[in-house]
């Protein structure tokens, strides 16, 4: 199967001036050498903490950030090389739902107008046909016709997110980018939005690029995932495999840091020290090495290349593939010796 979206070696760097009186500029390495593909009808999740570059990648796919280098191919067409008009045409198939439903809907537009806008701009629908289409979209996301002439402030967060989803689906896209679609919602509302997204995917054959920091949410929706740290993908593969048998120490730490809602599984709250370093001067070698409990000498010198660890799993780490991440760091000494 040819992938629907293919991102190859994408780098997005931002230049920031040091200040009004200071000379020179710094480069923020927001995304570095990011590669992944999404197949039609599949859910691909990008996971990571704030500042890891998840949203930067999504914005680059949408054309909202100019990539520094790399290629983004959608349905066989190189999106970066396309001229403006042709790009706009191609981007009909790629739609987006943002995190905060209140700020992504105009407070001055009614639900009807919010959903009508993309249809009027991209199709010749008008009059009764337009209205029927809008009603069908509303029904699809589980909202009644009585809501048609209301404005966003009259809705709850969950309802607003449904409206944003209806708007994203208006042009019958093939890929929907969901940027933290449930993080602003309460758990009971989150569950209903996740169920809705799953239903819509099945019915319409949508592919999702799902961006989230909540691993439990990702586990419930994703087919494949990629874990990002400081602008780079450290590990990617089939979601269940990555989440249940992580191979990269960062993935392992991230999973162990999630507090389990089961009070009978208490010992699992592990702690890795330190915080995410600055993306302006990322650490040398492996970017995770200052926080890694298993770091070796090589880690601060050589940047690990992503290598195939079997079963479609890519891991960017110097540790051997059969290394037991659950082992206490004390065992590290013997492992390093064997390696040397």
């Amino acid at each position: 199967m040819t992938p629907l979206l293919s991102v190859q070696d994408l780098c997005v760097h931002f230049v920031v001036k040091r200040g009004m009186t200071k000379k020179g500029a710094d480069v923020v390495h927001a995304a570095d050498h990011v590669s992944f593909t999404i197949d039609p009808g599949q859910t691909f999740a990008l996971v990571g903490e704030s500042g890891s570059g998840k949203t930067t990648v999504a914005r680059a796919v949408l054309g909202l950030n100019a990539p520094t280098s790399g290629a983004i191919t959608f349905d066989g067409r190189d999106l970066i090389a396309l001229k403006r008009g042709a790009r706009r045409e191609a981007m009909r198939d790629v739609q987006v739902v943002f995190q905060d439903p209140y700020s992504s809907l105009s407070p001055r537009l009614t639900v009807h107008d919010v959903i009508a806008e993309p249809l009027q701009a991209n199709s010749k629908l008008s009059g009764r046909e337009l209205n029927e289409r809008i009603l069908a979209l509303l029904e699809m996301v589980g909202l009644g016709t009585q809501h048609l002439w209301r404005r966003p402030h009259e809705f709850s967060g969950g309802q607003c997110q449904r409206i944003a989803i209806a708007r994203a689906l208006a042009l019958e896209p093939r890929l929907v980018i969901l940027d933290e679609p449930t993080s602003a919602l309460d758990v009971s509302v989150q569950a209903r939005i996740l169920v809705l997204l799953e239903e819509l995917q099945e019915r319409l054959g949508l592919a999702y690029l799902f961006i989230a920091h909540d691993l439990a949410v990702v586990e419930s929706v994703a087919d494949r995932i990629a874990v990002m740290y400081l602008g780079e993908i450290v590990e990617s593969g089939v979601a269940d495999a990555v989440l249940h048998a992580p191979r990269h120490p960062y993935t392992h730490a991230l999973i162990a840091s999630v507090p389990s809602p089961d009070p009978e599984r208490r010992s699992e709250l592990e702690v890795i020290a330190g915080e995410v370093p600055s993306a302006i001067r990322p650490p040398s070698g492996c970017r995770f090495h200052p926080r890694c409990p298993f770091r070796m000498e090589i880690c601060d010198q050589v940047e690990p290349e992503p290598h195939d660890a079997g079963g479609g799993r890519l891991v960017a780490c110097h540790l051997p593939d059969d290394f037991d991440l659950g082992a206490a760091p004390e065992r590290l000494a013997s492992v390093t010796e064997e390696d040397a």
Partner: protein
């Protein structure tokens, strides 16, 4: 251990332009010495307002307390004057908020704003206040060197800012800390560090804590006991494992089932309907319109808290009926 704080049947309302918001409708909560109790619930259920009411920080004049007591070591805080409450706030009961950046003053250094708190509450010299500040910063897991004391909030990372807020709360050795969503603004690896800190504060310094959170996982991992709130009332309270794993209130059960926990999205449980508007809350039990177990009585009579076991309380007609029926069979 004895009770440090007891909130009895607290009721309060806000007067707004749209009408009277019946925000709290009978909150019952006990905090024992040296324990962490979790106050869990979804947005708008009254968790934060409960916390603020203990500190006398309710917005005035639109708030009206219509009933109940807040007993701190036996004294009713609601009967105290402003001056007396000021003496308690910070010294006996301290609070940390969700957003550390907006709870620190951007124009003062960390050392300055924390030592100022110490000097307000204790008659100590500048040097002693600085010493207490360093001690508090160390308890909050920061290195209390001069560089930190002289830094401004914007120079610190999110995790360090939240630790600085924690240090401010600890600076006067308050025996009760109210932590309002202290980890919600933080990344998960930093959240894990912060939760470890809360546990250390309980174990090493014996500080009792009310941990306000919407994250059931956070409560499950850190709290000794949990109280679940819905639409202004505590609906269930008890030991963490009892409340979360052997829930008796239909809302607690449904809330727990909504969590993904390794389930696929298509298998997720959902709660029908939405949270009621507290200007016109449902009569009887406020959860009854969404409840799978609702009975006739639920529409008219508000359920009183029923004791299920030594620690486990639930405010539900159905759960109480279950217990009565169970006892009938047993005897």
């Amino acid at each position: 251990m004895g009770d440090l704080l007891e909130i009895r049947d607290l009721r309060l309302q806000f007067n707004s332009l749209r009408g009277t918001v019946k925000a709290l409708d009978g909150v019952n909560l006990t905090v024992r010495e040296g324990e962490i109790i979790g106050l869990v619930g979804e947005s708008g259920c009254g968790k934060t307002i409960t916390g603020l009411s203990v500190l006398g920080l309710l917005p005035r004049p639109q708030t009206e307390v219509t009933g109940g007591q807040i007993l701190f070591r036996g004294d009713d805080l609601l009967l105290l004057g402003d001056r007396a409450v000021e003496g308690i706030r910070g010294r006996l009961v301290a609070m940390v908020f969700q957003d550390p950046l907006s709870s620190l003053n951007p124009v003062f250094t960390i050392g300055n704003q924390i030592s100022r708190v110490v000097r307000v509450h204790k008659k100590v010299s500048h040097g002693e206040a600085l010493e207490a500040t360093r001690k508090a910063l160390a308890s909050a897991g920061l290195r209390p060197d001069d560089a930190l004391l002289d830094s401004y909030p914007h120079q610190l990372s999110g995790g360090m800012r939240q630790r600085a807020c924690m240090a401010m709360a600890l600076s006067c050795d308050a025996p009760l800390l109210i932590a309002d969503e202290p980890t919600t603004a933080l990344d998960v690896t930093i959240q894990a560090q912060m939760l470890r800190l809360l546990l250390d504060l309980r174990d090493d310094l014996g500080i009792a804590q009310i941990l306000i959170t919407h994250n059931v996982g956070v409560a499950a991992q850190t709290c000794d006991r949990v109280a679940v709130m819905y639409a202004g009332s505590v609906v269930e309270q008890g030991l963490t494992a009892e409340v979360l794993k052997h829930s008796r209130h239909p809302y607690t059960m449904a809330l727990y089932e909504c969590l993904p926990q390794g389930k696929k999205a298509s298998e997720l449980h959902t709660i029908p309907g939405s949270v009621p508007d507290l200007i016109d809350p449902p009569a009887g039990c406020r959860y009854h319109p969404r409840c799978a177990r609702a009975m006739e009585i639920c529409e008219t009579v508000k359920p009183d808290p029923t004791r299920l076991s030594e620690e486990h309380w639930v405010a539900c007609h159905w759960a109480a009926g279950q217990v009565a029926a169970g006892e009938g069979v047993a005897s």
